[in-house]
Structures are given as structure tokens and as C-alpha cells.
Amino acid sequence: MFPPLPNVSVEPGPPKLSNADLVKRSASSVPPPERQLTPVAKLIDVSKCIGCKACQSACIEWNDTHPEIGVFSGSYENPPDLTPEMFTLMRFTEWVNPEGNLEWLIRKDGCMHCEDPGCLKACPAPGAIVQYSNGIVDFVHENCIGCGYCVRGCPFNIPRISRTEDKPKAYKCTLCSDRVAVGQGPACAKACPTQAIVFGTKEEMTKHAEGRIADLKSRGYANAGLYDPPGVKGTHVMYVLHHADKPEIYANLPKDPKISPIVEIWKGMFKYAGFVAIGGLAAFSFLQQVVSGANRVSREDEESAKRLTGHAER
């Protein structure tokens, strides 16, 4: 078992995470950071999850969100989807395996903290989405304009736009960046009673996952594996899946997630093509006038008009 997160000292100290550690900032650039933090990761071992939702409760508690009291919708899932007040959600799937047995699959859904974040790429507001050198992708609400472009950029359908505030803002899991900044781990990992959620460096987590996968394989789960999708250059939230060959059975976890090519075109070459088209045409129009001169009405034109109108009078 991976050791539980220790209680850390409450003595004040320098923050372990600050704006000096940014590697990416939406719609703007940041100077390369002076130090490189050790990449972190949260590992969610689906095979150890008992579906208790302690992680959801801990998330609500730590982030001080107030999800609406929901209604029963025919599933253990509650609320039925991620919301601006619910950054993480246990998704329950009843899967009939090829042997005809029922498997109850429970996946803790939430932000995957992609190494190549689509939300950040799509965001038009400078500094509304940032990525730290330890891999955490965070939303900075004072810079968020509530446009929802991050929703289009995300390959996992995670960000949710709050409509209850005066000004809409995007919300998602922060990987408890505020806790990580003082040397703690995410609230969900802290609360998990079975160590299904563990937190550490990405290297540690990958190594721990290997042990878990070997164990699962020894118990007959031949396709057990780590979910760290290369399409988004890896994620800082990873899953151990007993059926890693079929991630989609876990409430539609995408098999090969990547930023939509439409988003890549929209945020990539299209912007330059647009500037070239508009700038080129404006330059051409200017040159056309300079070269061929104004198209002026002449004295003869006025005389012709007079003759035409005068003629009609007779």
C-alpha cells in the first residue's frame, strides 16, 4: 500500500507553488521559470475504489462549494454530472463482461491535468488558465471572462461554467493547487479510505501503478494497465484500470484523447490565415487607390446629367 499523505507542519514557510513556476499562461507568454518543480500526479486506482464518495465530500469541503441538493436519477451518481460546484464525480457503470458476469465499475471523474491542456490552448483571456511546472493546470477566476472556450478545448468534457454568479466563470478541479503550494496533497486523496486515490510525484505514481498492475494481472485481469494518454502528452491525473484496453467502458473515458483537430485549426493556422486575408486585402485596396487614383465625377458628367434631365422636360 502506498503510504497515506502525512500531516504537514503548519509553520509558515515559502510557498511551494507560485506565479514564478508558470510554464504556460493562456493567451499570453511567461518567461521560462528559474526552477523546475518535480512533476506531480494523482493516481486513481479504479480497482480499489469502493464508491463511498468521500472524495466528493472532501472536495466540496475543501473548495467550499455548495452543490444543489439533487434528486435520485436512477443511478448511484449524484449529482448526475459535474457542475461548477462539483469538481469531481464518481461515475458508476454496470458492465457485463464477456463471461456474462456483472462488473461494477466506478471511476472518479474530474480534470486530468493534461500535459498539453486543450482548455488553455482554447482560452482567449490572458492568464485565465495557467500551467505550473509541476503539471497542475489551474483556472484563475479574476482573469476568466466566462466565454466557455475551455469547454470546447477540453478532450474530457470537464470545465463547467457557473451561471449562478453575476458573471459566469469556468470551474474545475484545481488538483488542490492551494494545498500542494503548502506541501499537502489533494483533499480527495487525503479523504480516500482505501488509498484508491494516491498523490505524489509522477515518477512515484507511475512506479506505484506498475506494482498495482502486476497485482491485478496476477489475479486474472490480463489487460490491467495505466491510463496516462499520450495524445495529450500524458496527464497528471492517472488511472489504474483493470480493463485498460477498453477505457470507454468506464463511463466513456476516451480511448485516445487529444485536442480536437477543429480546435487546433481554429487556434492555430486559421488565426494567421485570417490576419493574412484581412491585412492583404486592406493593403491591396490601399494600393489600388494610390496607383489608379480616385474615380472622380467630371464636369462633363455633370453636363451630361443636365442635358439628360433637361431633355426629359421638353
Partner: protein, 229 residues
């Protein structure tokens, strides 16, 4: 001597004798309508460009920040759409293509290079270039409205999928670029053809302007008896 009114003559069109001859071209209502479209479009450009590329995000400050820009842009779009369609229902018949329009379009590049306008076929109230702009805007604004509604999350988020929104946000910005190009040509031609702007500011043009650029229209007005004393 009244005959049936030609398809492109508008109710307010009238020739006034004098030196120079003047021709009423746009009624006050049309002008207010047109400038409503212009103002809303300028504001759409500013707010749209702010979101188009980070290097232009500073334009959002003109609206009091990105949140206001994001909130106001769709409403400006609705105003532009209504304003344009106010003009559309007034002018669509006059903007139907007519005999000779093809020849005019073929000859236009030579005119823009400094050629002689006398060599082009005579055109009515609107020349084929204006007609292309008119129909182009009519189509593009429908695309802008539909794609704009799909990405107007505040009111319409639940009605489409995220993939549809991804496509529509690309369509919205691509067609916006085309529309901007169309307007650049429109404005550029107004500047190039001296004496054109006053049709939209003061409402009338000189007889010489009508003779030079829209001779068929001038003839229609004269033969139709739309001349005062």
C-alpha cells in the same frame, strides 16, 4: 408619362434640376438603418477581434474588460442582423442581377486599374459589385447568426453538443473574416468613387455621379418622370 416602375427604383428616388443636378438616393430612414448597421458592426469588429487573437485582447478594455466584451458581442450581432435585414427587405429586389451585370463584372478589374468607366455596361441603382456584397452579406449574416447562437452559451448551451460548438466557433470566425474582407472592399469602393459617401450622409448624389456610375438608374428616373421642377 408614367410607365411601370423599373425593378430597382426606390420610392424616395428623385431627380432635382439645378447646377449641379442632384438625385435623392437614400431616405433618412435608410440612412439611419444603414448607420445602425455600421455602428453595430464597428463594435462587433472591436469586440470580436479582442477574442480572435490574444494580441488584440487589449481591445476588450474599450468595453470595460473581457467579461463585458463577451457579454455584449452577441447582442451587437443581433442588432446588426436586424439592421441588415431592415435594408435587405427594402433592397433585395433592386439587388437582383440583371442583363449586362456579367459584362460589368468582367470589365471591373480594368476600371479599378484606372480604365474608362464608359467601356462598362450601364448599370441600374446598384452595380453588380454592390449586389454581390449585398447577397454575400445576406448569406454570411445568416451563417453568423446561426453559428453565433450555437456558441452563445449563456442562453443556448444545452441545445448543441460540444463537437457542434467546436465546428460553429470555427465557422463563426472564418465567416467573420470573409465578412470583414467584404466590408473592406465596400468601404474602399466608397472612398475610391468620390461623391459616393454623401449618398449615405446627406442622402443625395450629384447628377454627374449618377450619370457616371448608375446611368441606367438615372435614365429610369428621368423617363419615369421622377424629376421635379
Amino acid at each position: 408619362m408614367t410607365t411601370t416602375t423599373p425593378y430597382d427604383v426606390q420610392p424616395g428616388d428623385k431627380v432635382h434640376r439645378g447646377d449641379p443636378v442632384t438625385v435623392d438616393r437614400h431616405t433618412p430612414f435608410v440612412r439611419v438603418n444603414h448607420w445602425t448597421a455600421v455602428i453595430s458592426m464597428i463594435l462587433l469588429w472591436i469586440s470580436g477581434f479582442a477574442l480572435f487573437h490574444p494580441s488584440l485582447f487589449f481591445l476588450a478594455d474599450l468595453f470595460g474588460g473581457g467579461e463585458n466584451t463577451r457579454a455584449v458581442h452577441p447582442w451587437l450581432g443581433v442588432i446588426l442582423f436586424l439592421a441588415f435585414y431592415g435594408l435587405f427587405f427594402r433592397f433585395w429586389r433592386a439587388c437582383l442581377f440583371a442583363r449586362g451585370d456579367g459584362g460589368w463584372l468582367v470589365g471591373m478589374p480594368a476600371l479599378m486599374a484606372g480604365g474608362d468607366e464608359e467601356k462598362l455596361p450601364e448599370v441600374g441603382r446598384f452595380n453588380p459589385g454592390q449586389k454581390l456584397f449585398f447577397w454575400g452579406m445576406a448569406i454570411m449574416l445568416i451563417v453568423m447568426l446561426v453559428s453565433g447562437l450555437v456558441i452563445w452559451d449563456v442562453y443556448f448551451f444545452p441545445y448543441t453538443t460540444i463537437d457542434q460548438k467546436r465546428i460553429m466557433v470555427l465557422v463563426h470566425s472564418a465567416v467573420a473574416v470573409l465578412a470583414v474582407c467584404g466590408v473592406i472592399v465596400h468601404v474602399s469602393m466608397v472612398i475610391w468613387e468620390r461623391g459616393t459617401l454623401q449618398a449615405m450622409t446627406r442622402g443625395y448624389v450629384t447628377g454627374g455621379w449618377a450619370w457616371k456610375h448608375h446611368r441606367k438608374w438615372l435614365r429610369e428616373l428621368v423617363t419615369g418622370g421622377r424629376v421635379d421642377a
